[in-house]
């Protein structure tokens, strides 16, 4: 594959990444469970930005800065994206763990309360 074909494919990847970031933001807007989730959206956007910068570097659009651009696009932004995505997913994991705690607590407590109320009623009747 020549450089033009590579660039075209990378731009397709950028388009898909932007759509993915939009879906991630739409999920946040739909339930607003956790603002941590937004880190995932920013993570995907960072990947897209990294890809764009890499394409620009390969075309030597900023002469004299090609190495720096490649370093940013291929190293810095992917690391940042990984951190953001890990943070966003960790936040969601914490939320789901909390939901499980709430579910168990609600069930246990109301059953206990029901038993207590019933035994009090029985005592009163006696």
């Amino acid at each position: 594959m020549n450089v033009d074909q590579n660039a075209s494919l990378l731009l397709v990847a950028v388009a898909i990444q932007i759509v993915a970031a939009y879906f991630s933001f739409a999920i946040f807007r739909f339930n607003r469970i956790s603002t941590n989730w937004l880190a995932l959206t920013w993570g995907i956007m960072s990947i897209a930005l990294g890809t764009i910068i890499t394409v620009l570097a390969e075309y030597e659009t900023v002469p004299g800065y090609t190495k720096e651009l490649l370093f940013t696009g291929q190293i810095v932004l992917p690391i940042l994206a990984s951190l953001l995505m890990a943070f966003g997913l960790w936040g969601m994991k914490k939320n789901f763990e909390y939901f499980e705690v709430v579910e168990k607590e609600a069930t246990t407590k109301i059953r206990t309360l029901e038993i207590m109320v019933n035994s009090k009623d029985k005592k009163r009747k006696k």
Partner: protein, 167 residues
């Protein structure tokens, strides 16, 4: 009874809420979701009105938010992080309703407070989901809203889900 929405005037709000609660909870296991006042305050007023609050299960969505995470819930109460933890409120309400036997009532106090902490679209979808779920489970529900909020689009949509709107 099904799902009833009560539009309450803000000037005598709490007094009216207690009246509605006492009237609607007769013969049921009431589950009181409070977003306005800590459960201790509601228990105190219920006791003053000759009601046994220890028979009521409270889902308190405000105490933890105002006091902090270090409070311990009594046997008839559970704390949710805050009024914006809408998913947790929904889970707690449906689980509590599912776990209890006999006739039960979910008492939501109130949609107006929920709207102060959450986006109206989120409150709309939450109510749609919760009320449909409760209806499917055969659970009665009372939803409170301030009279002044009746003109809001989201409240009109919630009204359409109810069997009755009372003032």
């Amino acid at each position: 009874m099904g799902i009833t929405i009560y539009a309450v005037n803000s000037s005598s709000y709490f007094k009216r809420v207690i009246e509605i609660f006492k009237h609607e909870s007769i013969g049921t296991v009431p589950i009181y979701i409070t977003l306005n006042k800590p459960h201790t305050e509601i228990e105190k007023v219920l006791r003053e009105h000759g009601f046994h609050p220890e028979r009521v299960f409270f889902i308190d969505c405000i105490s933890k938010h105002v006091i902090g995470h270090n409070i311990v819930a009594p046997a008839n109460c559970m704390y949710v992080d805050g009024p914006s933890s809408i998913t947790a409120i929904g889970i707690a309400a449906t689980q509590a309703a599912k776990a209890v036997n006999g006739k039960k009532l979910i008492f939501i106090d109130s949609i107006s407070t929920m709207l102060m902490y959450n986006d109206s679209a989120v409150v709309g979808s939450f109510c749609n989901f919760l009320l449909a779920r409760l209806r499917a489970m055969g659970v009665d529900a009372v939803v409170l809203v301030l009279e002044s909020d009746l003109q809001k689009d989201v409240v009109k949509r919630i009204e359409s889900l109810a069997d009755e709107v009372k003032k």
